[in-house]
Structures are given as C-alpha cells and as structure tokens.
Amino acid sequence: MTEYWRSLFKSRDLLYTWTLRELKVRYAGSLLGLAWALLYPLALLLVSMMIFAWFLRVPTSGVPAALFLYCGLAPWLFSSNTIQSSAFALFANLQLVKNASFPREILPLATVLVGAVDLAVSAALLAGLVFYYRCPVGSTLLLVPVLVVIQLVLTLALCLFVSAALVFYRDVRFLVPIALQFGLYLSPVFYPIDVVPLRGRFWYLLNPFAALIDGYRHVILFRTWPAWQPLVWAAVVSVVALVASYEHFKRVEWEFADRI
C-alpha cells in the first residue's frame, strides 16, 4: 500500500494537470460554463420541491422544504455524479492507458476531484439557502468536515471499483445507474429518516449513505448530534471499501491496456 502511495505522490503533478484538464474540457464550449455547477442542483431542487413538498407534502420537521431537500440532495448528487462519471474514467481514455505509463488511479481520482469542485459550489448554494431562510446553526457544524471526509472516502472507493470493473465488463455501464437509483431512493434524500419503519431502520442504516445524509441534516439543520453508531459503521465501511478497492485496482491495473 505504501508503495502505491509513493508512486501516486510522485505523479501528483500529473494528477493536478489531469484534473485541470477535466475541468476545462467539461465546460469548454458551453455557454454558461461553471454556472452549470450551480444550475444543475438548482434545477433538481426545483423539481423535487414540486413533487415532495407540494404534491406529497413530505414532513420536514419544521425546516423550510427547500432547505430540507437540498441538504440531502447536495451530498447525494456529489457521490452519484462522481461515481457515474468515473465509471468511464479509464474506458474513455483508452488511448492514454494504452500508450503511457502512469498510476492508473489518477484517472478516477481526478473525476472525484472535479466532483469536489461541484460539491464546493453546491455547498455554497446550501450556505446561501441557510442564510436566506435564517436557519440558526450551532456548534454541531463542527461535525460536517468529518462527514465530508467519510463521504469522500466512500465515494473514492466506489469510483475506483466501478472504473476498473467497466474495463472488464461492459455491463457495468448499465448496472451503475440502476445501483445509483437504488441508492437515491434507499437514502433519506427526499424524505426524513423518521418515515422509515422502526423495524427496518437497522437494515436501512446499514447503507452508509443513509447514515451520512441523515447526519448532515442533524448537524446543519437541526443542531443536534446524530446517533454515533450508524456513522461509525459508515466510517468503517468506507475505509475498508477504499483499502479493498484500491488493492483490487492496483492488482488488475496491468490488464487495462490489454483489455481495453
């Protein structure tokens, strides 16, 4: 493992250059450029407000619906979009993989970094909403960085796994969106965790994203500390997943150039 980290550290300039490239290429030629990083979550917020706040009247524990929904939507969109785009991180750059030697994990890693830029933009939007609705915040905000780190680790683990899997099995491109839809509905993005029956709550919280999103709501909107057991579970799952998927990635790395 340390050997991998060392070679990755040596290639940090490539990681930087590649991430910059991804950012530039993504918004190159689009009229609104980086504004899309803001418009996209905003559009999803609007439609989810219409359905879940207006049509379905999902209970929001007294918090304005826009705030409640966005607090779940913003972190979920980061993970979901990043996993979706990292699936193609290796596959779409086959020319490079076939012709240059570099730590392959740089490609999925760069999509996570690009996603982190989007996350920063949507976090700013969330802060704007908190300010706009004059939602009081407290010392529980201190837990936010911890939650973000756990989520980054988990997302990176899934990105590494998915990007490598797509090289070997093209079916993965269809499986990923399905799995992400499951994740969306099986996490408390559009509804509070209270609506999940108590009998099923334990199983529900085995999904680390459920614990994380519920955690964000607690510390940002409700000024309460979330239950620690699901979060510790999420942290353990994330770290184990990252170690396992990185190890797997490095083991099959050599076959990418021959397989693509």
Partner: protein, 262 residues
C-alpha cells in the same frame, strides 16, 4: 552500463471476441472452459541493450515490434519473463496519445510532459525550448484539434526530446512528419545519443534504421530472429521481403549472439 535487460519474455494477447460481458463470463465460468483464443505477440525474447546504443527494430506488421515497446514502456506486463530498465524513460508510442484535442498546445505540453513523468516546474523551465523545437509557436494557444498530424507530431516529439531522460522509446511515429522535420528529429536524437541517451525505435523506414542506428533487431512472428549491424540486418529484411521463407522463426538466424551484444 546495461540499460535494458529482457529475459525470456513472452506476451500473449486475447484475440477475437473479448469476454467483456457478465453473461459470457458467467457462461464460461459455469461450463468451466474458456472460449478465448490467444495469440502470442512475443515469444521468448532475450535481449540486452547498453547505454548509448541506438537500437532499430524492424519487421513486418504484427511481428511484435510495438508489443515489445509497450512492454518496455511499462504500459503492459509480459505474460512470462522479466524486463528491467534503468533510469528515466520517455515513450512516444502513438501519435498524439497524450494530447487532448480541446486543449491548447500550451496546455497539452504540460499534460504530455507530466504524463512522461516531468514536474510542472521542469516543464516550465524547458517550455520555450520545446516550443522553439516544434516550430509551432504561432499556434501554441490554439486547441490541438486544429493541428495537422504533422504539427501534433512536432509537439509530441519536442516534449519527449527535451525530457532529459536516459531512455527514449519511439514507435514509428516519425513517419508522419515532413522530411525536413524528420531530419531535424534524427539530428536531435543524434545529439541526445552523443550525450549518452539510449534510444530504441521501430521503423518501416529501413534507410533510417541503417543510417541512424548502431544496432538493429529483426522480428518475425513475435520472435527475435536477427540481431546485429544495421546494414546487415536491413539487407536481411529486404531479402526476406522477396523470399519470406528465408528465415525460419523457430530456429532463428543470428548475425550476432542474441543477448550478448555490446
């Protein structure tokens, strides 16, 4: 000093339909047999290259030239055997592989340079030199998609040739440039060689190999069949083009002891 050591290297590729769907993988797994067909791109290659040598690899398409370079460049791993290289290495395997069409020439120099293992500071230091060599100054802030293939070659060769590496691998890419730039590249490579760089290139241009290289290797069907003085080997290659049975790849034909060169 020995720069490259290749011991009993073979490389096998899966050909035909790749098993890239879960269904096929499951079917293959259940029936307990692999439907894959394999082809040996390289067979039992032994070779050692010393510092300062300029090695030209010749052979027909599919002879294993590019595979050998890919293995040397550490893009892929040999199926059996061992490869060792010393020092810093730069590889030009496919034209424009490290370039992105939407980025400008300037941005691509940094992308390409970092891909070859340079830091951004090192690239900044050599930036002017690279641009001057490539002769594409006036297009340096134009997206590379507007470049001709010759211009792309100029830029990618310029980056690789200003790396200060110890080992340069070039796969056939020089064929794209115009003759005057090809000459310039050869002169630059000669200069790098004089400074002690080791160069391995593949080419279909036998004249280039004969005039530039200090040693030539002839590949046929994945086997190294001849190794020796460029003039001799090139002659052999030209002869064998007319009489393709001249060399039996199984037994090999050696102008000089393979592996004991230098």
């Amino acid at each position: 000093m020995q720069m490259i050591l290749i011991q009993e290297v073979s490389k096998r590729y899966q050909v035909g339909k790749l098993t890239t769907s879960l269904k096929e993988a499951a079917a293959g797994w259940l029936s307990g047999r692999q439907a894959a067909r394999w082809v040996w791109a390289l067979r039992d290659v032994n070779l050692s290259v010393n510092a300062g040598e300029a090695v030209g690899i010749i052979g027909h398409n599919g002879a294993g030239k590019s595979t050998l370079l890919r293995l040397l460049a550490r893009v892929s791993k040999p199926t059996t055997g061992r490869i060792e290289t010393k020092g810093r290495m730069a590889a030009l395997l496919e034209l424009g592989a490290g370039f992105h069409p939407d980025l400008t020439g300037r941005e691509n120099i940094f992308l390409n340079g970092t891909l070859l293992g340079l830091t951004r500071t090192e690239i900044s230091k050599r930036f002017d030199e690279i641009v001057a060599f490539s002769e594409v100054e006036s297009f340096i802030d134009t997206p590379v998609k507007h470049f001709s293939s010759g211009m792309t070659l100029r830029l990618s060769f310029a980056v690789a040739a200003h790396l200060n590496c110890d080992l340069l691998l070039i796969d056939e890419v020089l064929a794209v440039g115009d003759p005057s730039f090809a000459d310039k590249c050869l002169m630059r490579m000669q200069h790098l060689r004089d400074q002690g760089m080791t160069i391995v290139l593949t080419s279909h241009n036998l004249r280039t190999v004969a005039s530039f290289c200090s040693r030539a290797l002839l590949f046929r069907g994945g086997c190294l069949v001849a190794d020796g003085q460029p003039a001799e080997i090139v002659g052999l290659c030209e002869n064998s083009t007319s009489r393709s049975e001249a060399i039996d790849p199984r037994h090999g034909w050696r102008a000089r002891g393979v592996g004991a060169a230098g």
